[in-house]
Amino acid sequence: MIYTADKLSKYKGADVVAEYMQKEKIPYMIGYAGHGAIGLLDSFYDKQDQIKIVWPRIETAAGFMADAYFRITKVPLPVYVSTGPGPVLSACAVANAYYDSSAFLLITGQVTTDQFDSGALQEPYRQHPADFPSVVRNYVKHSYQASTVHQIAQFLPKAFKMMQTGRPGPVHLDVPYDLYQTEGETAVPDPETWADSVSWRHGAETKVITSILKKLREAKRPLILAGGGVNVSEARDELRRFAENMNIPVYTSLMGKGAIADSHPLHLGVCGCWGHYPAVEAARNADVILALGCRFSDLHTASWQPGFAYNIPATKLIQIDIDPSEIARNYPVDLGVVGDIKTVLDQLIDKAAEGETVTYEQWHDELAGYKKQWDDFVTPYKTCDEKPIDPRRLIYDIRKVAPKDAIMFSDVGNNQPWIEEFWSSETPGTHFTAGGFAAMGFGVCGVLGAKLARPEAACINVCGDGGFMMMPHAEATAVQYNLPAVWIIMNNYAIGAIRDLQRFYFGGRQIGTNFETYEGTKYHNGELWNPDFAAMARSMGGEGVRVENPGDIAPAVEAAIKSQKPTVIDVIINRDTPVPLTSTWQMPPIPPALPTFGKIKIR
């Protein structure tokens, strides 16, 4: 027993959850009901002025919204679902959060405790009684299954502690739905006692800090790589200060994009298959890289092919990560440090003040040359008035009219690397995307989570026609809850990213990737077809416009942001323009593609 006897009283399981959420000061619970969830919802009935129930049109959307909310606020929301299909539909969202070190508490309903192994409606029973935990265990930091009311009380603070400490991640709590309405003897724990008082932001030993600084000062071509960990650890300010103090250029991974303002003079851009040439060229020429919270994934590293993005070794890698399992996963380290990015950067800033700043003059000159080459390449697209619209022109025009601190969610597909390469993230911490699990629809729903977190901000989702159609009901949810988000669809009548793989990796044999009508016996006789997205939006009570002329982009986006109404802007883009490759990506056994920009580096 962890609770003292004098605090015990009778609670229904659902009351325990509701009161605990209140103590955690949770503003929203998102989910979708079924018979396995109404017992829980009932206890929130009288608390709706403190905890608002938000109910999108599918469980996956609920998870995506909570995931996005955490990325912005670091507050993990509870996501409630019923039994059976609800939990299964939420699995994609929980995985999406897990891969990107985001978090929410997934509360799934289960058959009642006396029905275990009966095969009662929706029970996962044929291998093991009531075994949803086995379904999600690969995608959560921990999975609990309560068998008493008291256990619900025990597990909740542990779950919140686990989600918010160390490397964040979602946690799962499976509750047989009879427990929601059964009274049990327990106490509602205080977060201060059980979860909030954990110290976990550990730094590195002084000698390690000294050694990192020494390596950086002795280097001739040092770089700082900001991975997603910088955003997760909320170390963006520390990153900028350290880079400025040391005069060391910074580049990011896709998940780190926005950790530093794109226009910061020390910033080089994103390194990756579809990154920025200055960042990629710098990464392959650096002698020391200080990597902060980066996994070195295939899309970031040119599938680890030497010379395309990295030359580690010879480049010496100093890798800091809160999760030791990520250190030296893909590249050997010169120095690996297990620690919280924010704390270690603070230590580095303090210690750096004792030494002098190196100029790295030659290195900066060289990098300025790379930046100039890239600028020369991209500048003409800013004014490109081709029709169908060039994707770059679209993004530049959104940037022109969106407020500086607009929150940008890309979805998955070509729209993601288009944003990665051409969206300038000016206010740190305003670019979000699904990098690791990369579930389509995350951005489409995530932008609603963003609007819950930052109602005053302009929240934009740039998505594909494929991704939008997976979650078009996001518009209805936005109208219902007055969440005036803006969706900008890069409409190319295709699941473009996959169609491009067929064009470039499979000799142009396009099958199952164009949205077209079926006609006769041969699928390809059909016409390209999509629903009228603008009309769909209007039918749901929001605004909808279709844009085909480049000159109409900026006015449409400006009007959407100003309107304070959920708006869909359906933009017909040039479907044949590939996203420029600045390094590469391989789909073994097919050989890697050569970069479209920048001298090929093969070693």
Binding site: K220, P313, D334, P578, P591
Partner: protein, 253 residues
């Protein structure tokens, strides 16, 4: 029988790259196999690099001078010449002149500087063998690297199988671009060749190399840091890799 002196005299007077190619190849074959015979494909490659007629007349010349001998098995180096020839070729290789905008060095000094740079920069590098500033065997991160000055781009395929079997990366440095080295490109179709060999031509600031040894990154850095220069990749190289199916272009290219 021709004396050592006349051979050296000949080499110095003529300084014919073709002759140096043949002699270097013959030496490599002597080291490699018992009978020292230059295999037919290697002779064909040399004919390809220069031309058939010139090759034949140079071989005839060297046979007449008894530097090469013809046996039933083929053409090989006169065993008596191996020692002196090897010393002399090394002298000539080392003495090859490299002219950069700010610096003039000999090839021997260049290679020596490269090895010193590797020793400084690549931590835990061990120099296992060093031969007269023309050849080094280095061990780094459990991989072995043979670095060698060379005249000829022609004989590298002859050692590729052995290098692959012994798990050695074989890097040659020489004035290859001026000697039609693109004729060797078809060998990149062979895994042993592409995975274990590398050509560097500091005379023309070029390289052809897709072996995945991390130490090669330091070659580029050495050239950059010590000579402010860059090894470029000749255009034919990625084109050939593309035609073999080892690289692809996306359609913007």
């Amino acid at each position: 029988m021709v004396s050592n002196l006349t051979l050296i005299d000949y080499l110095e007077k003529e300084s014919s790259y073709l002759c140096l190619n043949i002699l270097e190849s013959a030496l490599v074959c002597c080291r490699k196999n018992g009978n020292g015979v230059i295999p037919e494909p290697l002779l064909r490659d040399l004919a390809d690099l220069f031309d058939c007629r010139t090759l034949e007349s140079e071989i005839k010349n060297l046979l007449e001078r008894k530097v090469l001998i013809q046996t039933g098995e083929g053409i090989s180096l006169n065993r008596e010449k191996i020692h002196s020839l090897s010393i002399h070729l090394n002298q000539l290789k080392k003495a090859m002149k490299l002219t950069f905008t700010e610096k003039k060095v000999t090839a021997g000094i260049f290679l020596n500087e490269l090895v010193t740079y590797l020793e400084q920069e690549a931590s835990c590098l061990v120099e296992e063998e060093a031969n007269d500033c023309t050849e080094y065997l280095l061990v780094w991160r459990d991989n072995r690297y043979r670095l060698q000055l060379a005249f000829s781009p022609g004989w590298l395929p002859a050692v590729a199988d052995e290098a692959a079997a012994d798990n050695i990366y074989f890097a040659v440095l020489g004035p290859f671009a001026a000697q039609n080295w693109q004729k060797m490109l078809h060998y990149y179709g062979y895994p042993a060749f592409r995975n274990n060999t590398a050509y560097y031509d500091p005379w023309h600031h070029q390289k052809m190399n897709i072996s995945k040894g991390g130490l090669f990154s330091y070659f580029d850095w050495f050239f950059r840091d010590r000579y402010g220069s860059k090894f470029f990749i000749p255009d034919e190289f990625p084109c050939k890799l593309h035609s073999i199916g080892l690289l692809r272009y996306n359609d913007e290219k």
